[in-house]
């Protein structure tokens, strides 16, 4: 009986300790971090595109967390400065990702600001990036129908067109909103 009581208290105590160190302490440290001045909240279109990003599983191949130069040469890859906690102020849940089968996308909106490029790249990645292993997302487009006046038409290399569905436009709006190139001022005196 005493052993069971000790085990129960021990287990609860360990959980409480781990919870306070891994959840409570970081929360207390970062609760004062507001959104940076250069970061805008997602538009409705971009927010829908974020849902599509999650639903399509982009996170399984793309990270959103450029690393510090001490850890990886991400800046030289053109992926931008290391991210800081405030950059994720509007991200619930965050989409940090763990795999880099494809490039980091934290600054894709600044690196590749062309909507036409993104749409064609989603339709046929190999058309613009030879040797890409990204799957084509043709199910986000209508092919073969007549385009209406409001439709966004993607001109395909070698002729032909495709009409982007709303999901594709939302997803591209989200990708174009991923621009965290604004500077983050380090604390005074911390820069040598």
């Amino acid at each position: 009986m005493n052993a069971a009581l000790g085990t129960a208290f021990g287990a609860v105590g360990l959980l409480a300790l781990a919870g306070s160190l891994l959840v409570g302490a970081p929360y207390a440290q970062l609760r004062g971090e507001g959104a940076p001045a250069g970061l805008r909240p997602y538009t409705a279109e971009a927010a829908r595109g974020r849902e599509a990003y999650m639903a399509l599983g982009c996170i399984y191949c793309h990270s959103q967390q450029p690393r510090d130069p001490r850890q990886a040469p991400d800046a030289e890859r053109g992926w931008g400065r290391p991210s800081v906690p405030a950059d994720y102020a509007y991200d619930h849940p965050h989409l940090l990702g763990t795999m880099r089968t494809g490039p980091d996308l934290f600054n894709i909106g600044a690196r590749q600001p062309s909507r036409d490029w993104h749409l064609l790249h989603l339709y046929d990645p190999r058309a613009v990036v030879p040797g890409s292993i990204m799957p084509a997302h043709r199910f986000l487009f209508d092919v073969g129908g007549a385009a209406g006046p409001e439709d966004v038409v993607v001109n395909l290399p070698g002729g032909g067109t495709a009409v982007a569905r709303p999901e594709a436009l939302d997803l591209v709006a989200y990708l174009l909103s991923l621009d965290h190139t604004y500077p983050v001022a380090p604390a005074e005196g911390s820069v040598p």
């Binding site: 600001p113 036409d116 490029w117 613009v128 395909l156 500077p183 983050v184 001022a185 604390a187």
Partner: protein, 198 residues
């Protein structure tokens, strides 16, 4: 009525219990050492309370846009900013993105390509006999005048193009002329009207 068989009970062993035993000293030392290591790691890595910079950041790396002191490499900038659509060969993607190699717009008056890069271009444009529909983004917020001039100078000299370099002043003039404009230049017609060939 239950009758207890005391003979059978007497044959049974007692219920075993674990005797209290002290933790081996090596284990206790290991626990203390691990806790001390964890505390020392947190103490050393607390970053003097600058939690907003994240874990183990190089403060200088957070300041993006390094001061461009050295020479600007137009070819490197072209490959980073333009080649995804217009291709490293300058040939574009037929049907989707117009070529720059041999393009009458690139080779013509420098103020026109400068205006396109500054403000972006939508609508329709005729390049080397083919019509292109598209939307090129504006680069006025991403590139400086000197960088745009370097890119244009590269594009006007590469792939057999033989046009003279583009001066920084030409880009600055285009930027000033288009300062109030929010959207992209709407196609060839507006480009010709907005930026007359000298």
């Amino acid at each position: 009525m239950i009758r207890l068989n005391h003979e059978a009970l007497a044959r049974e062993n007692r219920e075993p219990i674990e005797a209290p035993r002290r933790m081996p000293p090596v284990f206790a030392a290991l626990v203390v050492a691990l806790a001390a290591w964890g505390a020392a790691y947190l103490w050393r890595d607390a970053g003097e309370g600058r939690f907003g910079e994240g874990d183990q950041r190089t403060p200088a790396a957070l300041l993006v846009r390094p001061a461009s002191g050295g020479a600007i490499d137009g070819k490197a900038l072209y490959e980073a900013r333009c080649a995804a659509c217009h291709q490293a060969s300058g040939l574009g993607l037929p049907g989707a993105f117009p070529p720059l190699a041999g393009s009458e717009w690139v080779l013509g008056a420098a103020s026109r390509p400068a205006s396109i890069v500054v403000a972006g271009l939508g609508g329709s444009i005729q390049v080397k006999g083919h019509a292109y529909q598209g939307a090129m983004p504006a680069f006025r917020d991403q590139l400086s005048d000197a960088e745009i001039a370097a890119i244009l100078t590269y594009a006007r000299g590469a792939w057999g193009n033989g046009a003279p370099p583009v001066e920084v002043d030409t880009v600055a003039a285009a930027r000033a002329a288009l300062a109030d404009r929010a959207g992209p230049i709407e196609g060839e017609a507006e480009l010709v009207r907005l930026v007359p060939s000298p």
